[in-house]
Each structure stands twice: as C-alpha cells, then as structure tokens.
C-alpha cells in the first residue's frame, strides 16, 4: 500500500462521478452570456470508491501522532483526544452561521466567553481575543496592540522590536510585516538573554520585546523579572510568545512574569490537532491597560445575554473574518474541561519530567550545549563521537527507519547542527525509551557503519527526496500530458 503513487488526475475516467445532488425542483434560468466560463476547469472524474481509496492510500504514506512519538521541538505534538473531535462535530457547533441573530447562538458565544476566562486564569492576563487563526497571526495582533498603545499616548516614534537570537522565525517576520524594525539580541552562555547586550539596544524608540519563555532552547529565562523591568522602564511592552506554554501551566504565569501581551497556540498546549499544518488558533491575551485595543467584535454579557460589541473606539480593528477558528476553540474548551486545574498542572509537570529524562539519556552520546535542567524540551547538537562527520540531517533521515518522527532540526539557529526534542506529556516511558534506543543505535552506527546512516532512509514510503531539484525548476501543479 505504501507504494501507491497515483495522482488523482491519473485515476480520472471520463463519465465517472462521486457525488449525488438532488434533481432540480425549480425552473432553469438563462445565464448572462458575457459572464459564462469559456472552458471548464480540468478537474478529475472519479467514482466515490476511487476517492476513498485515494485518500486511504495516501494516508498510509503519512506519519502522525496517532502512529507514534512525534518529538518535534517547539511544536508540542501531543495526543489529540478523540472526545474533542466528537464534540466539535456536534451540529450546534458546525452548522451555525456567524451572522445568525445573536439570540440563536448564545451557546457558541458563551463557550467562547468561558474559554476566554479559562485562558485568563491560566496565563494571568485580563482579557483575550480569540480572533487570530494561528500563532503568527496572534503575534501580528499583539504587535498591533503594542503599537496602538504607544500611539494612543501620542508616542509615534516607537518602531523597534527586540527579539532574542533564539526566537522563532515568526517573531522577526511578524515585526517586519508590520513595518517595524527588528533588533536582535544575542543569548548568553546559559542560553538566556544577554542582559548587557540588551542594555545597549534599549532606547526610547523601543516598542517592545518578544520573548518565548521557556525559550526555544527549552530553558527558563531566569532574569525575566529584570528584563521586564528594563523594558518597562524604557517605556516598552513585553510580548510573550506562548509556543512553549506547555511547560508552565499551573506553575507560573506570563502575567505574573511581567508580560503585557501574549498569544497561546491552542494546537500546541491545548491539544487541538495540527491538521497536517493547520488550522490552529492563536488567541491573544492582554493586561488590563490594553483591553481597549483588542480587535472587534468583543463578546460582552448584558442582562444575562451575550452580545457582539463593535463599538470600541480604540480597537485595532479586525484581523480576520468573523470571530476566529471556532471549531478549534471548541476542542480546546473540551480539553480544559477534561483536565481541570489539577490535570493541566500534571501535564506541565510530566512534559518537563519527560524532557529531562530524555535529555539525561541522550547527553552521554550527543553534545548538549546548555547542560542544565530543561523545561518541556531541550536542544542537542552533533554526536560526541563523530569520526565520520555525520550531520544532523543524516541523523534525522536515519531516525525515519525506526518508525519515529525526528526532532525539529537546525533550529534554534544559535546551536550548530541543532536537534530540538520535545517528547510531551502524552508519550509513555516505553515510547521515549524506543526513541532513545534509536538515537543510541545511530550513535553507534556513526562510528561503526556510517554508510547505513548516509544512505537513509531505507524503510520509508519515499526514499530521500531531491529538494534542490524541486526548487530549481518548480513544478507546483499537475499538467495534463499533451
């Protein structure tokens, strides 16, 4: 089955069909001729059986959380509970229109309002907007709010955003997309922000600083209070990239660390599926002084009834159609309801325990650039004993042969040959041990049989794919043979 290699266009047989629409029960009306399509779209013609077998076969060529450990650092590939999928498909959630009269969608509005409260409590913020579709859009909203805050005080010169060199690529990309200037600060030898260097870049043009805590190295920023003070004293605001929030639930809160704005990735910390690359949700939380800037509409409760408030003069406006990725919000709500306070804390405790356990077992074989207690993830570098110069990419490809997903590789950029490993709380000890054993075997092979690593992967649906060829002459859609 794993050899299936047909494109759906190659399954097409003229005359086949996979759908059944009702026969029209109304008269036919003339089409306005100047608007009529000249040539029909070249879509395939297949039967329902063809469609189902196509997707079933393709699915067998995919690795996924439901198949095994997926320790992709900074992505929090935890198990996606099935009850969440079931409840999200209830007709009162899937078959409702965003513009229905509010009195007919009170349940949906209440669910969003309740989820906002949960997230405020978990993060220590004052209010949330559910509008952003993903973390990167949350970052954009957060920076817009920061800018609006400064400009509302008549301060138009603040156009610089400080970003540590260990930050996710989305941080600088977001700042640049909004026309802001990115100032990068280096990390110190402990993997934290270099305070001395930070001092040198702070001035009265600083709009704010974006920080992931724990950082992408999986390390908690010990100087966070000091950093917060420095930024606040200079008149800037602090943005928390919540990509790594899985490490801190019930343990510490960004609001208490001094952060003013943050986003959470519901598809990471709150167990909603990653969907092969989305949809996610990136709700944004703000401190009290920033609530007026949240996007419209804001859900408010008046006389026991939920309403959508568009009348918010200081609001940054709208960043997405309607109210956010509602289907994702339903799943996150179900997750928090299932886990409760006790469960969420246990999640973070186990996420951290698991990461430290794996780190401890791997550091004998792999170079660990920051050898200290990690949070929910850690970063290792090349093999300690590496006479044949095996690279991280080669290790990742060899890991594919062990039916596990490799870690995030070559990120963060400040570690050479980085491998960023995040087991999550939902992996069992057996599952982590299996991954550790694979890594140890590769360490052994690197000395004894480097060829088996260099020629990997051996057992995958496709062998090593040529990325250079794909980029040199991009073929990005199917072409009918002529």
């Amino acid at each position: 089955m794993k050899k299936y290699d047909k494109l759906i266009f190659e399954c097409s047989v003229p005359g086949r069909k996979a759908y059944r629409l009702p026969t029209s029960d109304v008269p036919e009306y003339d089409l306005p001729s100047s608007f009529v399509r000249q040539k029909q779209a070249s879509l395939p013609e297949v039967s329902e059986v063809d469609v189902i077998r196509h997707f079933a076969n393709l699915s067998h060529k995919n690795y996924a959380v439901d198949l095994g450990i997926y320790p992709l650092g900074s992505c929090t590939m935890k198990y996606n509970p099935k009850i969440n999928e079931e409840v999200a498909q209830m007709p009162g959630f899937t078959y409702i229109h965003p513009l229905q009269p509010v009195e007919t969608v009170q349940g949906a509005l209440e669910l969003i309002a309740e989820l906002e409260k949960f997230l405020c409590e978990i993060t220590g913020m004052s209010a949330f907007s559910m509008q952003p579709s993903a973390g990167a859009q949350g970052e954009a909203l957060g920076l817009m709010i920061i800018k609006a805050f400064h400009e509302n005080r008549g301060d138009y010169k603040r156009n610089k955003i400080i970003v540590p060199d260990s930050a996710h690529g989305t941080n600088p990309a977001t700042a640049a997309m909004l026309g802001m200037k990115v100032i990068e600060v280096p990390s110190n030898k402990d993997g934290g922000v270099d305070i001395e260097k930070l001092k040198t870049v702070i001035d009265d043009k600083i709009a704010g600083l974006m920080l992931t805590n724990p950082s992408t190295l999986g390390l908690f920023e010990k100087n966070i209070l000091k950093i917060a003070d420095m930024i606040h004293e200079a008149g800037g605001l602090l943005y928390y990239d919540g990509a790594n929030a899985n490490a801190i639930m019930g343990i510490t809160r960004p609001g208490d660390m001094g952060f003013d704005v943050l986003h959470l990735n519901l598809h990471k910390t709150f167990s909603t599926p990653h969907g092969g690359g989305g949809p996610g949700a990136g709700p944004v939380g703000v401190s009290k002084q920033l609530t007026d800037y949240l996007p419209v509409p804001v859900i408010v409760k008046k006389d026991d009834k939920y309403e959508l408030d568009y009348n918010r003069p200081l609001s940054i406006g709208k960043i997405k159609g309607f109210y956010g990725n509602f289907g994702v919000l339903v799943r996150a709500f179900a997750y928090i309801a299932t886990m409760g306070a006790e469960g969420l804390k246990r999640v973070s405790e186990l996420a951290v325990l698991h990461a430290n356990y794996m780190m401890e077992n791997l550091k004998e074989y792999y170079y660990l650039p920051y050898d200290r207690t990690c949070m929910h993830e850690f970063v290792i570098s090349r093999l300690k004993n590496n006479p044949n110069g095996i690279t991280t990419k080669e290790i990742a490809k060899r890991l594919l042969d062990f039916d596990v997903h490799p870690p995030t590789i070559y990120f963060p950029l400040i570690v050479n040959e980085a491998m960023m490993i995040e087991p999550t709380e939902t992996e069992s000890k057996d599952s982590m041990d299996k991954f550790i054993e694979a890594m140890i075997q590769i360490a052994r092979e690197a000395v004894e049989n480097p060829e088996i690593i260099r020629t990997a992967p051996h057992n995958t649906p496709s062998k090593l794919l040529d990325e250079v060829k794909a980029a040199r002459n991009p073929v990005v859609k199917w072409e009918a043979e002529t």
Partner: protein, 447 residues
C-alpha cells in the same frame, strides 16, 4: 491518572531516579520563587468523558443549527452540501494528527494532497501557481495586497466598496503598518463604479482588489477594470466565490494577476465562521513573492515521483525578517477538505452545484418579487445571493421568519448605510423549492 497521561507513579519514580532527584518540583528550581504560582489554578475539577460530552451538548443545544432550520443567510459563509467523502478524508487521523511536512519521506500523504489542492485551485481559477492555503479570504486579500505592493514597489491599493466588508476591514488594519494607502471606490447600481475607478487608478497604484460575485451577490464585469489597471502597470487582484467558477468566468479568463477568496464553500462546514481557508493563486512570475508554503514535485533517490515543500527561502523559518509573510501554520486540514471536495465533485459536479444555486436563487428572487411588495435593490445579473428591498423594517421581517423556523438573510444597512430595509438572501443547492415557497409565503404575510 488521566487517560491522556500514560506515565504511572512507578515510571515517574524510575525517571526521577535516573535524574537523581527526589520530586518533579526540583525540575522547576530555575523559576524564581516570586513568580511561582502558589495556589491551584481557579478552574473546575477534571471531568469524565460523559460529563464533558454533556457539558458541550448543552452549549450546542442552545444554538439554532442549519440542519434543523432552513437558512437563507450567506454574506461570506455558506451552507453548501458536504459530501461524505470529505468527512471521511479529514477524519483520517493519519492526516489530522500530523503536522507541517518537515520530513517529506514520511509525509507524502499530506504533501501529495497539498499538491493536488494547488493543482485544482489553479484549475478552477485558471492561474499558474497556488500556495498551500492562507487563514481565510480576508487575510488572503491582505497577503495579496502585500505581494502586489512588493512586486510593483508601489504604495497604493484600490479596493471596491463591493468586496466583503470584513475583507475591507482586515485590509485597512494590515496595510497602514506598511504605509500602504487604501483607497475605496464606491458602487453604483450595486457594482463597482468604473468611471471613478478609472479616475483613481494611476501609475502609483499597486493593485485593485475587486470581487465577483460581489458582496451583494452581483456579478461584476471585469473587462474595463482589467484594461484600466494593466494600462497603468498595476495588478488585478480578483476575489471569487469558488463555487461560482463552475459556471462563471474564472480570474484567469478575466485577466487577473492574483486570484483570492475564501474556500469555506469547498467542503468545509460553516462552523460559526471558522476555521475556513483562504486561497491565493497567481501567475508564474509572482511565485517567488508568494506567501506561505508551496509544494513542488520532485523525485526520490530511486527516481520515483515525490513531493516536497519548495522555494522555502521565501518563508519565515528560513528568512526571518526578510520573509514574504509571517505565516507558519496555515489551514492545511481545510485545504484537504477543499481538495476532497473538488475531487468528489469533479468537472461536472462543480458545474451542477453552481447551476443549482443559480436556478434556485433566481427562482427565489422571482417569486419574492412577484407581488410587488418586495423588489431587487438593483437590476444586475447575480449568482446565489441577491439584495431585496421592501418597506418593512428588517428587524420585523427577521423576527417573523425566525418565529416560523427560518433563518433569514443579512441586513445590509450596517455595512451600506444607503441600503435601508435591504436584506441579502442566499439560496444554495441545499434549499428546496418547498423551503423557498415557505419563505415567500412568510414574506407575503408581512403587513
């Protein structure tokens, strides 16, 4: 024990022993004591599966859903038929529990789906390149505007008043940060005023953004607009309802440079407005400025066809502040739904569904306007939505319909102050003649 947390007490002990520590608390010593939370989070106690289901069922039951209640509401989100094949595809957990295909050798399922999605978006829009999806139709417009500004090195985007109001709002939110001016062209008779457009477009205009069918449901003729913008060497960005492309001219046929839109109609439920997907497709010369992921065809070591993410040097994880966009996670599973939808419907199905929408909407408009109590706000060709004007206050009509088990149309007054007492009705292939007749009957009873 929690069902999603497999680690037992004994295994926890074993791991702590391996680490040489007494308790998990020791792992959090790096966090300054002053910011540690010294109390339990103020959330409810954990719930069983039965309790969670009951709780969520309670929320769901409070909402009036379109399975039990015929809906004549569109305005950007549509109640279209979703084939069972689509649900099958998106519910396969090999797809939905995977992430971005960073390791192509074990992600060929996802990658091929995206490649087929791109191929079919190109096929229906008659464009050359599609990306793997954007957040929604509104953010696709913002990304397209950025792309056009970058390509032309110009700082003005002209948009018609007749595109979706949320899209206009999102554009105005995003563009100002890059110093891009947003000019809005008013409508005349329900469509973009071409004379004013002609006056506004200049060699400073990066692109014009138009929509057909427009927000009022009317088809817009792009012939003039295309000439005007191209004469000034700007780009034509065309937002379309993908279902309409089963019968109406494609962005490629109109001469558009970038096609955008919201793909919700393609196999995605309404879901209170999200998640949907935004699609963006363009001509080949714009490929290196495209936002987000693109999948390309290649071969593996043994010469067999395979797929990889390509041209990644446009993206944030490689280029950081020099990336074409900040987008990382997109709407892959919604794109999978769109892919499964287009495969299922195929060439003929997309035509048939569009035709059903067209005929039913025209039948509805016909009978609603029959008695003279109601009339079309403007006389223009339309697709599946049409604005109806009457002397009755919108609120009264909506109330009457709701009391009789129908979700009515969208009141246009908020977005178009001149359109008082005008309701935008939408009729998809899911509405039956009986439901349409009932709508008409209720409207006739208004006095």
């Amino acid at each position: 024990m929690f069902p999603y947390l497999p680690t037992t007490k004994a295994e926890e002990e074993a791991m702590l022993n391996r680490l040489g520590i007494q308790s998990i608390d020791d792992l959090f010593n790096n966090i300054p004591d002053s910011i540690k939370l010294k109390r339990k989070l103020d959330l409810e106690d954990p719930k069983s599966e039965i309790e969670v289901e009951r709780l969520l069922q309670g929320f769901s039951n409070q909402n009036l859903n379109a399975i039990n209640t015929p809906i004549f509401l569109g305005a950007g989100i549509y109640d279209h038929y979703i084939p069972s094949t689509v649900r099958y595809a998106i519910n396969r957990s090999e797809f939905y529990t995977a992430y971005t295909p960073y390791q192509p050798e074990i992600s060929q399922g996802t990658l091929q789906v995206i490649f087929e999605y791109q191929s079919m978006i190109c096929a229906i829009t008659d464009m050359e390149v599609s990306n793997a999806s954007l957040y929604d139709g509104a953010s696709a417009a913002a990304e397209a505007a950025f792309l056009a500004a970058e390509k032309t090195r110009r700082k003005q985007i002209i948009v018609s008043e007749t595109i979706h109001p949320d899209t206009r709002r999102v554009l105005s939110t995003y563009l100002k940060y890059r110093g891009i001016e947003l000019v809005t062209i008013p409508m005349t008779n329900g469509v973009t005023d071409i004379e004013i457009l002609k006056k506004e477009v200049s060699e400073n205009t990066a692109a014009i953004i138009l929509q057909t069918p427009n927000f009022l449901g009317y088809l817009e003729n792009m012939e003039e607009a295309e000439k005007i913008i191209h004469k000034n060497k700007g780009l034509l960005i065309l937002s379309v309802d993908p279902i309409s492309l089963g019968i109406f001219k494609s962005p490629g046929e109109w001469g558009a440079d970038i096609a955008i839109g919201d793909g919700q109609s393609l196999g995605n439920p309404m879901s209170f407005g999200g998640p949907t997907l935004g699609f963006i497709a363009c001509s080949k010369d714009l490929i290196r400025k495209m936002p987000g992921r693109i999948v390309g065809q290649t071969t593996d070591k043994e010469g067999r066809r395979g797929f990889v993410s390509t041209l990644q040097t446009r993206e944030q994880h490689i280029r950081r502040q020099k990336a074409t966009s900040n987008i990382c996670s997109n709407q892959a599973l919604n794109a999978l739904a769109a892919c499964a939808y287009l495969i299922t419907m195929g060439k003929k199905g997309l035509h048939d569904v569009a035709r059903l929408c067209y005929d039913k909407a025209h039948y509805a408009a016909d009978i609603i306007t029959e008695s003279g109590k109601y009339r079309l706000a403007f006389e223009q060709p339309f697709f599946k939505e049409f604005p109806i004007l009457s002397e009755f206050p919108v609120k009264k009509i909506q109330k009457k319909l709701l009391e009789n088990g129908i979700i009515g149309g969208y009141s246009l007054h908020k977005d178009f102050p001149i359109l008082k007492n005008v309701i935008l009705y939408c009729v998809t292939e899911k509405r039956t003649k009986k439901e349409i007749d009932y709508l008409k009957q209720l409207l006739e009873e208004m006095a």
